[in-house]
Amino acid sequence: MTNLKGKNLISITDYTKDEYIQILDLAKEFEANPKQPLLGDKVVASIFFEPSTRTRLSFESAANMLEARVIGFSNPAATSLQKGESLHDTIQMVSSYSDIIVMRHPRDGAARYAAEVASVPVINAGDGANQHPTQCMLDLYSIRKTQGTLDNLNITMVGDLKYGRTVHSLVQAMCNFKATFHFVSPKELEMPESVKRHVQDAGLKYKEYTNLEDVIPFSDIIYMTRIQKERFSDPMEYEKVKDCYVLDAATLKGCKDNMRVLHPLPRVNEIAMDVDKTPYAYYFQQAQNGVYVRQALMAAILGVKQLKN
């Protein structure tokens, strides 16, 4: 019996493939029956050192559906951090008030450090450009739910593959499931060598494309990403690539019936509104799945739900 009680979730490599699958199974139970009074005696600290309304509401909604009390902050400007309190001291204080900490922080590695300081388990809700493991888990959940399996799929990723930590983590995770990868990006935003090497080391295949139409006929999943302006030091470079991939309903002609479009949201213009009405759009349900996955994680880490083997 796997037991995640008391275990941190900082990086997707912290959990084994089996542990992921068990969390996904548990999330499925919560999807069927989301309101359960399992955490009535628990306090969840939700501490956001930078704003991320979407992620914060998803975690807090998950905690509330399990009847946990939620404390925390979403705006560091209103806390003692502005007075120069160290992360170390803030985490010590928060862990004395709570049973589990959900933390978002602008610095890479902040969550790992917080977990070393805290006396209660920490779930990383994003540390700078480094990791966002619950996003990855809800992506896995959405892929499994729409495809009926995680194994042997054609996974296509589109857009900013260079800086997008979401796609890097997802590649790493999908390497456990014999995926074939298709990377569509402008030259400037290609998948980093380290990620491609990871695919090769797993004995799997990837192919790179610049043209989105090329991958439509065989993709099982098309994972779209936003090209973020703040990643570019040269605004001209951004202008050059910002509109290079726009997925619309016409582009999707000839795709497989089981194909689904995912996106970590918020979107800008990379998915046209006319895709929303097609059976292939899955990004809004994907976000909704995040609540069930986060319920499963909190319940397992707080030890109120055992994982089945």
Binding site: S11, H88, D108, Y113, G128
Partner: protein, 149 residues
């Protein structure tokens, strides 16, 4: 063998001589070994001529012997350094350095957004490859070549 080195080595009765340090790494080695806290004689020589390294440095520490894990820390700055332990004016042991599997608070992370460069957090790296040295930050998870400061 050159005379200057002979002189420095022979001048010590008990203690350690660290030889074959690249000239530009001498003060870094002194700092890694916290020699500023040693309250006996420390002699630091630098820009000495060496056939092997061009210019080299040498450090002599009186009445001090280092543990292997302390010695290994200097391998990042001085991979070809040798240590001579001297007892009663006799060279007793000669050792070379080896890069440890984990580097604790020896090098800085190259990622300016890493928590170790923002808060007062000691760095920690796992060594992925020793030659050329490639390390992985325990916090920000960036793989990198070490940045000596």
């Amino acid at each position: 063998m050159d005379n200057k080195k002979e002189l420095i080595v022979s001048a010590i009765e008990n203690g350690t001589v660290i030889d074959h340090i690249p000239a530009d790494a001498v003060y870094r080695v002194a700092s890694i070994l916290e020699l500023s806290l040693h309250d006996d004689e420390v002699i630091i020589g630098t820009n000495l001529m060496s056939k092997k390294l061009g210019k080299k440095g040498i450090i002599k520490i009186k009445n001090k012997y280092f543990k292997q894990n302390e010695i290994d820390k200097i391998a990042v700055a001085a991979p070809f350094a040798t240590l001579i332990e001297i007892r009663d004016s006799q060279k007793v042991v000669k050792r070379s350095v080896e890069i440890p599997d984990v580097l604790h608070a020896i090098v800085k992370c190259i990622n300016p957004n890493c928590i170790t460069n923002v808060e007062d957090v000691p760095t920690k790296f796992t060594v992925i490859e020793k030659n050329p040295l490639k390390i992985h930050c325990h916090y920000c998870e960036k793989t990198q070549e070490p940045m000596l400061h």
